[in-house]
């Protein structure tokens, strides 16, 4: 077989699809990669299949949103009791231990008789000693809220900070790259283009992985960000833009694909003399995002509930479910990931359901001490549901 005959034979749909879904072994992957490098027909097939998969996402999001709307308004907040309980526990501890830590030693003598002794004396002498005595006495009683507010608020604040989504959003999106970085994402800062045609395809990036991340919550999450032109915010805003625009973009891609099939129209010139890309804004932003997530492990469960975080394969989570010890998240392709350390490390979960998964959630049939344990539910694009107790083994519901 000579080199020309390479183009006469192609990998079948099975191999191309398995390649795109990362399901091939190293040797098979290398074989398909090698073919793709020289075969525009097969690259075209992979791009089109990819565009078709992306076109599915708005429909899946619509199903997901409809399901979410069917639930009562408080259903999405049912796990807020976890951070609330933690906050209350810290407050109780602070109330209990603050007097000891701050050097106060409450007197065992009853307060009332002392006050009773002071009151009949000279009125000018009353306020200072009486106030001191009162304060000491009340601080010694943890059950009295007005006195404990000030010290407990001071103690609680560090623990409460990571649970506030707005603050976390600011940390994530701290503009680490300058304005120069904004245009480099889609390669515009690479070699000079002899034919400007990259604007169409670049629009296909809209909303591929992020459209399902809870809209309103994320709007709040990223609203305070002042750097309107920084890459992460641009990307997230685009990804939250929604369906119709993306469908149009996909159509545009298909038309562009047809044009591109006509042969090599070298709109991008591989110009070795050209300046190198100016900045690495995108990797830098991505890195800062990861770092900020690692700095705030306690915030991850909260973020997971709202969506908008990255998984181990680099994709954004589009749906997530959180229990006390486990976090499950889906990416845009329907791959499921499990974290047992609050989102620091993610393990892929083998697919045991049909179709593409579009939503994962938790469920509890009843409340109270005799209630069954929390289970996970996973829904595919056809609306079929699977359940799992541990997030790893799934059964059809």
């Amino acid at each position: 077989m000579n080199s020309n005959s390479q183009l006469d034979f192609h990998p079948d749909a099975e191999s191309l699809n398995a390649f795109a879904e990362q399901a091939l072994g190293a040797a098979e992957r290398e074989q398909v990669l090698s073919h793709l490098a020289g075969c525009s027909r097969c690259r075209q097939v992979v791009y089109l299949a990819q565009a078709a998969a992306e076109a599915e996402i708005p429909a899946a999001v619509a199903v997901s949103r409809a399901t979410a709307e069917d639930r009562p308004w408080f259903a999405n907040w049912r796990w807020t009791w976890v951070p609330a309980a933690a906050l209350a526990a810290v407050a109780a501890l602070a109330v209990t231990f603050y007097p000891w830590a701050s050097g106060f030693r409450p007197k065992q003598t009853p307060v009332a008789p002392e006050v009773a002794k002071v009151v009949p004396q000279n009125a000018m002498q009353v306020p200072k000693p009486t106030f001191q005595k009162h304060r000491n006495a009340e601080t010694a009683r943890p059950a009295v809220p007005p006195v404990t507010l000030k010290p407990s608020a001071k103690s609680v604040q560090p623990a409460a900070r990571p649970t506030l989504p707005v603050e976390t959003g600011q940390l994530q999106l701290a503009p680490s790259a300058g304005p120069e970085a904004a245009g480099s994402v889609h390669g515009e800062s690479y070699a000079p283009l002899s034919l400007p045609s990259a604007s169409g395809p670049s629009a296909t990036g809209l909303g591929v992985t992020g459209t399902n991340i809870g809209g309103q919550a994320n709007a709040v999450l990223f609203k305070p960000q002042p750097a309107a032109n920084s890459w992460p915010q641009q990307t997230l805003q685009k990804r939250m833009a929604g369906g119709p625009a993306r469908t149009a973009a996909t159509t545009q891609v298909a038309q562009t694909n047809l044009r591109a099939m006509g042969g090599p129209q070298a709109a991008r010139t591989l110009n070795f003399a050209a300046a190198m890309p100016r900045s690495e804004a995108q990797p830098a932003s991505g890195t800062s995002l990861e770092v900020s997530m690692k700095r705030l492990p306690a915030a991850v469960p909260v973020l997971a509930g709202l969506g908008g975080f990255k998984l181990s394969n680099g994709a954004m989570a589009v749906s997530a479910a959180v229990t006390l010890h486990q976090t499950l998240a889906l990416d845009g392709t329907g791959a499921l990931f499990l974290s047992e350390d609050g989102g620091l490390h993610w393990e892929p979960v083998a697919q045991q359901w049909t179709g593409r998964a579009i939503e994962v959630r938790t469920t509890r049939a009843a409340s109270g001490p005799a209630a069954p344990p929390v289970t996970f539910e996973l829904m595919n694009e056809a609306g079929l549901t699977w359940v799992s107790a541990d997030g790893k083994a799934w059964k059809a519901k």
Binding site: D12, A20, G38, A49, A53, G187, Y190, A266
Partner: protein, 337 residues
């Protein structure tokens, strides 16, 4: 490893021992008629415990597939792909078990049941995939009319309306469960569309093809001396030849297909930042390599850099051809059906 032992698959057998005990590579499995024959030596390797596990997981009973039939399907797809290992390589039991566990069993049995005409399987298939398939076809074709036509054609094929040797043939028979069934359907649609487009493009008349095109202008004289241009062409060709497969694919996707970094990232299954970084390093490395190659021909550093500044239109380079694999791989499918 512990997991495999836990489900009853022995794990301590080495590859060499497996080969010695009769494990067979796929290359020797094709019989005279071209179909995949399952030697008896393979059958005992699919242990009963593993068979049971896979059977339970697949839900094959729902679609009327018997155990024997199910096991035969598994053995055939394993043998046809040498259990995901390079052809000719001996495969251990662990590797076989790992291969079978990576197969999308539920999708596989559904596809095979549909191919055999199981009514319940078809009802399930239509309920789950019909809308997705139409949406995918519309996205691929770029408009609703063509998309629906494309989807209808594929449905007809899937349903087995085409016959060969008097026997109904469904493309679903060729699905082997390596990726998802919906992904396979999308890729099949994309293949049909691209092949159809390429076929009809070739059938366009010369008048249609050249209509509206300006007559080509005479080439201006190149500013760079011809000798330098030839040296530059050779230097670039050598530099490209030394690139790894993935790098050649990156160059083809970005510079020939004009795909965005996001699209390329989706194809390779990496983050687009990774594509950006790799492309930057790749172009940087290529530039250095071309300079080095030019200097090797006797040019000074400065002359080499000047040669790099030549107008690309003056170069006689076929980037597409250069990026092709010098050692082509054989794939079973022909370009056009």
């Amino acid at each position: 490893m512990a997991y495999l032992e836990g489900v009853g698959v022995l794990s301590s057998q080495s590859v060499a021992a497996s080969a010695a005990s009769g494990l067979t590579a796929a290359s020797s499995l094709t019989d005279a008629s071209g179909s995949i024959a399952i030697p008896e030596a393979i059958r005992p390797n699919l242990l009963e415990s593993l068979q049971e596990e896979l059977w339970q997981e697949s839900g094959a009973a729902d679609w009327g597939l018997g155990r024997e039939e199910f096991n035969t399907i598994l053995e055939r797809i394993g043998a046809a792909q040498n259990f995901g290992r390079p052809a000719g390589e001996a495969v251990s039991r662990q590797q076989q078990a790992a291969f079978f566990r990576s197969v999308r069993l539920a999708d596989l049995v559904l596809a095979r049941a549909c191919a055999t005409g199981h009514e319940g399987a078809w009802e399930h298939f239509l309920a789950v995939y019909q809308q997705s398939l139409v949406r995918a076809a519309i996205a691929i074709a770029g408009n609703e009319t063509m998309g629906r036509e494309l989807a209808d054609q594929l449905y007809a094929e899937l349903y087995g309306l085409t016959t060969r040797d008097g026997e109904r043939r469904s493309p679903l028979d060729s699905y082997r469960g390596r990726g998802s069934l919906i992904g396979w359907l999308r890729t099949t649609l994309a293949q049909r569309h691209v092949d159809h487009y390429r076929r009809t493009r070739r059938e366009r008349s010369l008048e249609d093809a050249t209509e509206g095109l300006e007559p080509p202008a005479a080439d201006p004289e190149p500013e760079t001396p011809c000798a330098d241009l030839e040296a530059l062409s050779r230097a670039i060709e050598e530099a490209l030849r030394e690139r790894e497969t993935e790098e050649r694919l990156l160059l083809a996707a970005y510079y020939i297909d004009e795909r965005t970094q996001f699209e390329i990232a989706g194809m390779l299954g990496v983050h687009e930042a990774t594509v950006s970084r790799k492309l930057r390093r790749l172009v940087d490395g290529l530039r250095r390599q071309v300079l080095k190659n030019l200097q090797r021909t006797g040019l000074s550093r400065r002359a080499a850099e000047e040669a790099l500044g030549a107008d690309p239109r003056d170069l006689d380079l076929n980037l597409k051809k250069m990026l092709q694999n010098p050692q082509p791989e054989a794939f079973p499918e022909k370009a056009s059906r």
